[in-house]
């Protein structure tokens, strides 16, 4: 069991991160912690892509003109590029969420979900 975990360490770590993130978004009452949980969840997915595209003994995918290139010598750059896009998306989501939080903080006494619902006068 331990050997198994050690051999695939990144994947176990990612699974744990996914769980932590999901718990944060659903289980936490603070709106800020929900956002942090969301971020952890997204980072875990990004790490998953990166870990999955690991290739030992390969190098950056840049070929020199005229030199013979073999695909096996290079890392596939596509997952990394995709993850750049995913990071941009995640930053955009975080930015929008943070600006929402600023507005919410000005409008409500605190950022605790229960407290806000109480303030709205509606039973959750």
């Amino acid at each position: 069991m331990l050997d198994e975990i050690a051999a695939r360490f990144p994947y176990w770590a990612i699974a744990v991160l996914l769980g932590v993130g999901l718990y944060g978004t659903i289980g936490k009452r603070s709106l800020v912690k929900k956002l942090i949980g969301l971020n952890i969840f997204q980072v875990a997915i990004i790490l998953f892509f990166i870990a999955g595209s690991l290739k030992t003994g390969a190098t950056v995918p840049i070929t020199v003109l005229g030199e013979h290139a073999v695909a096996a010598d290079f890392v596939n750059p596509l997952p990394h590029v995709l993850m750049l896009t995913a990071i941009v998306v995640s930053v955009a989501v975080t930015g929008v969420a943070l600006s929402f939080l600023v507005r919410l903080y000005r409008e409500f006494p605190g950022l605790d979900e229960e407290q806000i619902l109480e303030d709205l006068g509606r039973p959750s």
């Binding site: 995709l82 955009a92 619902l117 709205l120």
Partner: protein, 502 residues
């Protein structure tokens, strides 16, 4: 560009947005005509050949959904001009840029042929939708934040699923994935990926255990916004599901290898019943319509879950039906709210006398939702029942009937109130004479609706309500007419567009 123009000339953003949406609607209609004529359109971005580069694929299904989305959006934007001008004072430029961003994202999802690209467009459209919901006052802000967290989790689940598919197949192009999966046969990572993708899409579509964000978001968003996002946003989630069945996973994979088809049927039936029952208990008309959205999306999910060509036809027809009729209903209720300030069903007594056109359109939309014969609603439910009988799943037919009856119950409650109940206060000639024909009556509690006050202030106004101006009612009437016309012509739509597509 729109926000800059909006700061400079506050009236221009509407016309710019209108031109842009009208443009994309006509392009979609043209694409639909071309696809029917000469088959699938393909466009590769940046000159990279398809398996490597991103490809846009417009086939029958995509062109159909794109036309529905842009057409409905066009009608909604025309009709909500006054509501938006009232609700978004001083922020019209930003409002219309968000609307355009939303529609760009949605059409992007529909036409793209690349799995990762779907994720990017999904997030673009969702971000615009979160911000639009957030504009709706204090409650809208909380609902918008919740929508953001849950919606982003949905998008992330989708991305996680795509990761599994990518590591197995090494490609993101949908057609290529299909070819590789067909050759490779079933495997655990692919099945796990499928499960993650459908959890993510289920969140975006608000199927029953994952629907928590929807009622608040639709209820507390500004009425010009809920009329726009309620008809089309969840439909695009459904479209992506159909795409997964049709052009990503091989035939039968999602029903035989992973029990996603059956799960969708069960979840869809649960959504249908839950949505209708919850809708019956609502006093606020927008909240009622929001719960009925959950039930209608459930119907679409059942059609997808049957995973037969007829099931897909039913699902697509219902996507169109629901988009059109939900736009009619939301627009009619938005227009009622704009004129009278009433958004509670109680406050709509006798409304049909003052606003006969709007309420008749509402009734036609309701007829289509219940599924009474000449409307599209009847035919989409008809095809769904046929598909279910073909598969021997009689339970589905029973559920369709029950949920139609339930929706009749809650919709007739509104109609009874508006058409048959006399208005609570007799007409005061003095007040009626004094009332200006301005669309917004003073003392309208529209913006404070939902703060829990009974619409006392609005009640005397009901008796002297007049129709809003033609640019508000005309799109509603057109949409209502469309449900009937398309219902009569459903055979044309089905044989020319849907059947070749699935």
């Amino acid at each position: 560009m729109v926000p800059v123009v909006g700061l400079w000339r506050p009236r221009w953003p509407f016309w710019l947005a209108l031109a842009a949406i009208a443009g994309s609607a006509s392009v979609s209609a043209w694409a639909l005509a071309t696809v029917i004529d000469s088959g699938t359109l393909r466009y590769t971005l940046g000159g990279w050949a398809p398996p490597l580069g991103i490809e846009y694929v417009v086939d029958h299904v995509a062109a159909f959904v794109a036309t529905v989305v842009t057409g409905v959006a066009l009608m909604v934007v025309v009709s909500t001009r006054q509501a938006a001008a009232w609700e978004m004072r001083g922020r019209l430029g930003f409002f219309y840029s968000l609307v355009l961003l939303l529609i760009a994202g949605l059409t992007g999802i529909v036409v793209t042929g690349d799995l990762f690209n779907v994720f990017v467009f999904l997030e673009i459209s969702s971000l615009a939708a979160y911000a639009l919901v957030f504009l709706g006052g204090r409650r809208g802000m909380v609902a918008g934040y919740r929508y953001l967290i849950l919606g982003s989790i949905g998008g992330s689940f989708y991305l996680l699923g795509v990761a599994f598919l990518y590591f197995t197949t090494g490609t993101l192009n949908m057609a290529d994935t299909l070819a590789i999966l067909r050759e490779a046969g079933p495997s655990t990572p692919v099945s796990a990926g499928a499960v993650f993708i459908f959890i993510g899409l289920g969140l975006k579509m608000a199927l029953v255990p994952l629907h928590l964000w929807l009622p608040d978001a639709y209820t507390y968003a500004p009425s010009s916004v809920s009329a726009l996002i309620a008809p089309i946003v969840t439909k695009v989630g459904a479209y992506v599901m159909i795409r997964m069945f049709l052009s990503v996973f091989p035939d039968g994979y999602l029903t035989d290898e992973v029990p996603i088809g059956t799960t969708l049927i069960v979840v869809g039936l649960a959504s249908m019943v839950f949505g209708s029952v919850a809708a019956m208990g609502q006093r606020d008309i927008r909240r009622m319509l929001a719960y009925s959205s959950i039930s209608q999306v459930g119907l679409i999910a059942v059609g997808i879950g049957l995973a037969t060509p007829l099931g897909f036809v039913a699902a697509l027809l219902h996507i169109m039906n629901h988009a059109i009729m939900k736009a009619t209903l939301f627009l009619a209720s938005a227009s009622v709210r704009l004129t009278t300030g009433a958004s509670e069903i109680e406050g709509m007594a006798g409304l049909a006398r003052g606003m006969p056109i709007t309420m008749t359109a509402f009734a036609v939309g309701a007829v289509s939702m219940i599924g009474i014969p000449p409307s599209v609603g009847f035919f989409s439910k008809w095809y769904l029942s046929l598909a279910a009988i073909e598969e021997g799943r009689w339970v589905v037919v029973a559920f369709v009937l029950v949920s139609s009856l339930l929706s009749a119950v809650y919709l007739f409650r509104v109609l009874e109130r508006a058409f048959l109940t006399p208005s609570p206060v007799p007409e005061y000639p003095a007040i009626a004479g004094a009332a200006p024909d301005a669309p917004l009556l003073p003392g309208s509690s529209g913006l404070r609706a939902g703060s829990g006050e009974p619409p006392r202030a609005a009640e005397p106004a009901i008796a002297m309500v007049r129709e809003p101006s033609a640019d508000v009612t005309l799109p509603i009437v057109l949409l209502a007419a469309a449900t009937i016309v398309l219902g009569v012509l459903n055979v044309v739509v089905v044989t020319n567009v849907l059947e070749p597509g699935v």
